[in-house]
């Protein structure tokens, strides 16, 4: 048994160590194992494109998480009102999660394209001056990624919250009703505070999805126009496999890992320590 554990841990931690080491060397097209200190990080942080990628990641993550949470909670509360066809509706809300981000990107690229998509649709409906060209506008293209990502993942947030709502003890709800609290008060001051752990894990999962987002960007905008919708994941890929700057690519991958560690490790620590000890 232990060889299997050793091997799988090696492929994760050994490889991370390799990437971290490469980020401290002067590797270019080929790996070069001479230690060089922080020069790749200096180059990374002197690259304007890296700042675009970082700011895109923050804008995208913030909007994506906030909107998905809002839609998720809202729909979960609605579905919790003893809706008879709940199963069917839940299936509809959640099916985008079964799709590949490439499929999602392809569909939204078609819907959002200014020529024949929504813009054309509204213009034909009589609003000749209507403009919706976010997909090809470098200032707004990042928001099209938010639109597609929210469409795909908000049902997931709904499912997590619904499971959370179902685990709230009925006695507590009854007590609130006896005390004369209305539906709104019950949810806002009783139910949602109890669900704090569900909030936390949903945010962590969505944040983790956001930091890793690669497929959707490639399929929807290809990182463009120019590199306006670049994110750390696409930045890393393009420096590693297209521009053959292994050192900078490794350094950007290490920055991504550090971000994920900062978010996930405290969460995992509290999850593993918490209830069963």
């Amino acid at each position: 048994m232990s060889p299997l554990f050793a091997l799988s841990l090696f492929f994760v931690y050994g490889f991370i160590a390799w990437t971290v080491y490469i980020s401290f060397t002067k590797s270019g097209v080929m790996p070069n194992y001479t230690f060089e200190g922080l020069s790749q990080y200096e180059r990374l942080w002197a690259t304007p494109r890296w700042y675009v990628a970082l700011s895109n990641m923050f804008v995208f993550s913030a909007l994506f998480i906030a909107i998905s949470l809002a839609i998720g909670i809202f729909l979960a509360i609605l579905l919790d009102q003893r809706v008879r066809i709940e199963g069917v509706i839940r299936t509809i809300y959640l099916y985008p999660m079964a799709l590949s981000f490439i499929v999602t990107g392809t569909v939204w690229k078609w819907i959002l394209n200014p020529g024949l998509g929504i813009q054309n649709f509204v213009r034909k409906a009589g609003f000749e001056d209507f403009t919706f060209d976010w997909l090809v506008n470098s200032n707004y293209a990042i928001y099209t990624i938010v639109i597609a990502a929210v469409w795909q993942s908000s049902g997931y947030a709904m499912a997590l919250f619904l499971a959370g709502l179902r685990s709230v003890d009925d006695e507590i709800l009854k007590a609130a009703a006896i005390d004369g609290a209305g539906a709104f008060r019950t949810y806002f001051s009783v139910v949602l505070p109890i669900m704090r752990p569900v909030f936390l894990s949903t945010v962590i999962i969505l944040a983790h999805l956001a930091i890793k987002s690669f497929d959707l960007v490639i399929a929807l905008t290809g990182g463009g126009p120019g590199y306006a919708t670049d994110m750390p994941a696409t930045f890393m890929y393009s420096f590693a496999f297209q521009r053959s700057e292994l050192g900078v690519a490794a350094a950007s991958a290490v920055m991504m890992l550090a971000t994920v560690i900062a978010i996930v490790v405290p969460y995992l620590y509290s999850e593993l320590r918490g209830p069963n000890r």
Binding site: M1, L4, F5, S8, F11, V12, Y13, F15, T19, I71, L75, L78, Q81, R82, V83, T91, L94, Y95, P96, M97, A98, S100, I102, V103, T106, V107, W108, K109, W110, I111, L116, G117, N120, F121, K124, W151, L160, D170, K174, A176, A177, A183, S201, I205, K212, F214, D215, G222, A233, M236, Y237, L246, S252, A253, M256, L257, V260, L268, E271, P275
Partner: protein, 297 residues
């Protein structure tokens, strides 16, 4: 799960109740449309001719249904320089997903079993380390993996891609089985041990047969993840060995010739069909996998 016996919450009487229920269903319906419209647009567009797409509008239904776009997407659309449609790449994905799911599920079951039922010193630490492996951004292992595949002679091949999916799927499969086995009583296993059964004997004769629910959840999760993967596919395969997601992206982004939106949409549906089918058939297990991936260790 239902709350039939619950009295109190959101239960007004009379007209106010009727109004609230109507509003509730209206809102739920609007959101159904929100999630369904892209799928409807995708299907409708794939059944239209190019002329109809240019003349009509995004939401109109096809006037004259044609399956030309489907035939083209499946067997003659150009992916890069090769014009055999998605078909060869679809079979690449099948050839990749079947062994990758099978192997990673079996190894995950073994891992989970060893971590819970054959407790050894450091099992908790090893589990924590494996669990974190489920969260790492894969960018951090792309470069060493590319070199390793090169050294093994597997660069750009489907077996190479299978290996990658097995290795990085292990964190999830181990997590699923570990969480399942931790709720299974150790009594039978101890009894079998006393009777002289070994690690693998117990695994195959006792543990595996009773872990069917965990196997279903894991297989569905792994199937969806691996079929939908794009990053490993684009980083570790070339041309002829591309999985269907990479080929779809290439079809859509082929810049030569006229942009055929109907073919793009048909190709997207073809690439999505296997995971959609699994979702429709086994939705409950899919959801269970999603929430198991979400919570607890």
């Amino acid at each position: 799960m239902s709350r039939k016996n619950l009295s109190g919450i959101v239960q007004q009487k009379g007209t106010q109740h009727v109004v609230m229920r109507t509003l509730l269903f209206l809102t739920l319906g609007v959101f159904c449309l929100y999630y369904l419209i892209p799928l409807i647009v995708m299907i409708a567009t794939s059944l239209k001719s190019l002329e109809e797409i240019r003349a009509g509008s995004l939401l109109s239904l096809p006037q004259k249904v044609t399956f030309d776009a489907w035939t083209k997407a499946w067997s003659s659309a150009c992916v890069g320089v090769r014009c055999d449609g998605l078909q060869p790449f679809f079979w690449n994905s099948v050839a990749m997903v079947v062994p990758a799911v099978t192997i990673s599920t079996i190894l995950g079951a073994l891992n989970g079993y060893a971590l819970t039922k054959w407790r050894f010193p450091g099992a908790d630490i090893i589990f924590a380390l494996i669990l974190f492996g489920a969260f790492i951004p894969f960018q951090v292992i792309l470069l060493p993996m590319a070199r390793t595949l090169g050294v093994l002679g597997l660069a750009g091949t489907i077996p190479g891609l299978i290996l990658v999916h097995v290795i990085y799927g292990l964190a999830f499969t181990t997590l699923f089985f570990r969480n399942f086995f931790i709720g299974v009583s150790s009594g039978i296993i101890q009894a079998a041990q006393i009777d002289g059964a070994g690690f693998f004997g117990i695994f195959f004769r006792i543990v595996l047969p009773m872990s069917l629910p965990a196997i279903v959840v894991t297989v569905i999760w792994q199937f969806t993840q691996i079929w939908n993967d794009f990053l490993f596919g684009i980083a570790f395969t070339v041309g002829d060995s591309n999985p269907v997601t990479v080929a779809l992206n290439n079809v859509v982004n082929t810049s030569t010739g006229v942009k055929e939106y109907n073919v793009d949409m048909a190709a997207a549906i073809i690439a999505a069909l296997p995971t959609l089918a699994v979702y429709v058939i086994a939705g409950a297990y899919f959801v269970r996998g999603l929430s198991a991936g979400a919570v607890k260790g």
